[in-house]
Symmetry: C2
Subunit: 459 residues, 2 copies
């Protein structure tokens, strides 16, 4: 039996990027994947969601072309067209990942990976079991949606994001979305943009409870303008599935009847096949594996991505942990600088935040920050998209510690703040860079001007 340098269990954005990095470095690398490489993000997460949102956005923009002086025009929305676009996108990208793995000499083994002890990964390929010996193992098994009792998806009336993004399950004209987090908001808005009646039910007292209060407020305003019904601080106490549709009873007694229910209340680490005791791994309260700052649990076992640690469950966090784990295997010295993980919601307007931003009123009270409204930007008016703001958070020595952005295209701007945090940039740095005019990126500079007591384009 061959002994490998590293076996990676799970081919999502954590695992496959780790595999490419390891292969590039000349490590003898095996990637074990039970289904299709790309994981949740590529096959039933961000990528198909963003593709479908892009389709709905095309129709939405045409319907609002008068905001740029043209006639409001109907582009008939097609569920199947949007799903087909998403699948084309996914299929092309999966082929790309497969080609990259091949190019980097990664052996991809199709099967379910079992890890009972350090150094040996057992693979079950359609019942045929094989052991792979290895110096190192990276657990990159990802996560799966979580469903409370009574809200389990049935693929017909009560759906999971998997049903919607991977299986093109039929969605009726009225939809209840349970969960006002990132996935819930994106899909709720998607259904509203495609002409459905949508009700969002969130247990906590505001939408996007992991974002700032300002971001919640802004996205709530935007969704209300799109005529979504929003119930916050509310819980579903009963769900009754009917021949067609479902009846939900809310804890305040309200009854909501809809054709389709989408349950998007959260995800949990997927650790089937990982013998935590056998590899000596502890778990966080939320079930994810406890790792050290080098993504290791010792004895040549690493764990990354949604399966481990306390980072947001996001593809780019997983990819970076995968790279770090491989570099630790290679004996490269770790990078000591902060690697702030940005979060993005692909709504209209988009929401994005990174670093140290307050999510409670108490934290907000003691935070140092300055905001700039996007409606004061020339660029916003030229494209008829003026909602939102840019807020920079900073410390006592004016170093940038966080960013909170809402607006058209802020998904592309939040990385600037992440880079700034890593580099120890100050308000002065943002104030002094001539961000090009007219762009939304000027909002970062303008917010810094506000913080420095010299607001230029706002009172």
């Amino acid at each position: 039996m061959q002994r490998h340098d590293v076996v990676i269990i799970g081919g999502g954005p954590g695992g496959y990027v780790a595999a490419i990095r390891a292969g590039l470095a000349g490590l003898k690398t095996v990637l074990v994947e039970k289904s299709i490489v790309g994981g949740t993000c590529l096959n039933r997460g961000c990528i198909p969601a963003k593709a479908m949102i892009a389709a709905a956005t095309a129709c939405y923009r045409a319907a609002h072309a008068s905001s740029v002086g043209m006639a409001d025009t109907v582009i008939p929305f097609s569920d199947d067209g949007a799903f087909a676009h998403a699948r084309r996108t996914v299929d092309g990208l999966v082929k790309g990942v497969e080609a990259l793995l091949k190019k980097r000499n990664v052996t991809v083994v199709k099967g379910k990976g079992f890890l009972k002890q350090p150094g040996v990964v057992e693979v079950d390929a359609d019942g045929k079991r094989d052991n792979i010996e290895t110096m190192n193992v990276i657990v990159a098994t990802g996560s799966v949606p979580f469903f409370p009792k009574g809200l389990e998806p049935d693929g017909k009336t009560v759906l999971s994001s998997d049903d919607v993004l991977e299986s093109n399950a039929h969605v009726g004209r009225s939809v209840a979305v349970i969960g006002g987090g990132v996935i819930g908001i994106e899909l709720a808005e998607y259904y509203a943009m495609t002409g459905r009646e949508v009700t969002v039910i969130e247990m906590l007292d505001r939408l996007l409870p992991m974002a700032t209060q300002a971001a919640s407020k802004e996205i709530t305003r935007a969704l209300k303008k799109m005529r979504l019904k929003i119930l916050t601080g509310r819980k579903v106490v009963e769900l009754v599935r009917k021949e067609r549709g479902a009846v939900l009873t809310i804890d305040d007694g309200t009854v909501v009847e809809v054709e389709t229910v989408l349950c998007a209340i959260g995800r949990r680490a997927f650790l089937d096949g990982i013998d935590l005791r056998g590899i000596g791994a502890a778990q966080h309260k939320n079930g994810r594996i406890v790792i050290n700052e080098r993504n290791s649990i010792g004895h040549g076992v690493y764990a990354i991505g949604d399966a481990a640690g306390l980072s947001p469950m996001l593809a780019h966090a997983a990819s970076h942990q995968g790279i770090s784990a491989v570099e630790d295997i290679l004996g490269l010295s770790p990078d000591e600088k902060a690697e702030p993980v940005a979060s993005v919601v692909y709504s209209h307007p988009e929401v994005a935040w990174v670093g140290d931003v307050p999510v409670t009123p108490e934290a907000e009270k003691i935070a140092k920050f300055a905001s700039f409204p996007l409606r004061a930007l020339g660029r916003a008016h030229t494209i008829g998209e003026t909602a939102g703001y840019a807020t920079l958070y900073y410390d006592a020595s004016n170093r940038i510690v966080g960013g909170d952005l809402v607006g058209e295209g802020v998904s592309e701007l939040i990385g600037t703040v992440a880079l700034a945090i890593r580099l120890g940039a100050t308000l002065d740095d943002f104030a002094r860079v001539p961000f090009p005019h007219p762009t939304f990126s000027e909002s970062l500079m303008e917010a810094a001007h506000v913080a420095l007591g010299m607001p230029l384009h706002t009172m």
Copy 2:
């Protein structure tokens, strides 16, 4: 007579921002503007151009909705609708600037400013002449389009960008655009997107000769795909205006007949009323005033923006010089770090560059750089916009010195590279920041990975 702290001649993005900054600091400030505040950029430059391009883009996107799985749909383009959108945008922003100036206690004087000697500005308001005494003067008189003999605009057949962006001059179904620089490219593409037959004639051997060769190539490919005719290395030797339209003879003997000619070959500093000898100012070869690193020519006279120096003639460069000039007046110590000025072309795909990027084959040969193609990004496929690339330029110690980006929305990304240059960021910094997935901003990280010899998502 009152003596003022600073009198600013010209209310464009250089002058009005300087005035706001001065007013904020409590300086007794006068802004002299002969027409409407906002200058070329706001009234007849970037802002109306981008608004009109946004209108055409709405139609263009609907016509290509199948790239995101929807039916290609006609939104009829309306010249008047686009122009009306542009004027609404401009009018709103002008009102905003006026309100800001008022709020900061800036005295706006409507009239033509004359500067014959340091310390005194003469204002001619409809023939009524007044002198304003002042400690400091900032010359922010901007620039005007330049026309060679025989190509002077007549507002009917041969047009300037002013005619198009400020006066809604009629543009026929066939257009010759003379000049393949930023304004020429943006308007040529605009006319092509709005269904016109367009020929671009550029004297130098490539479009966008101030950008990298790669950027020229990419934008040339995109324009050819849109069926524009492109003549590079060619000069108009004769232009004959007819009853309707014009006949152009090119230096290779080709004859081009069109309804409308747009002449966009460049701009020159506008210094009418400025007595250069009287204030002891020298001029660069291109006519702009020579200034020192603090935007001063001595004796309390400063010059900023298109009127002075050697920076690109861009609004954000002017605004920053305006701020610097005022801070010098205030006795604040100057900022010593680099302030790289980014250039942006609002074409499809967009083109943007900043810092030290090579424009000759020789310079390119010795430059250190790495590129990443945008078609390898998930985000690009979700929205059906895969053209372009991100290139980072770096020095021997891996410090970022320049960026060259082509693609959807890169106008919002180039500021990231500008900030990085200012902060002395290295390839490692870009490689280590988990730019959020899926976004175009990942291309910067991926390019850094390529440069570091560990390409992740490209072969």
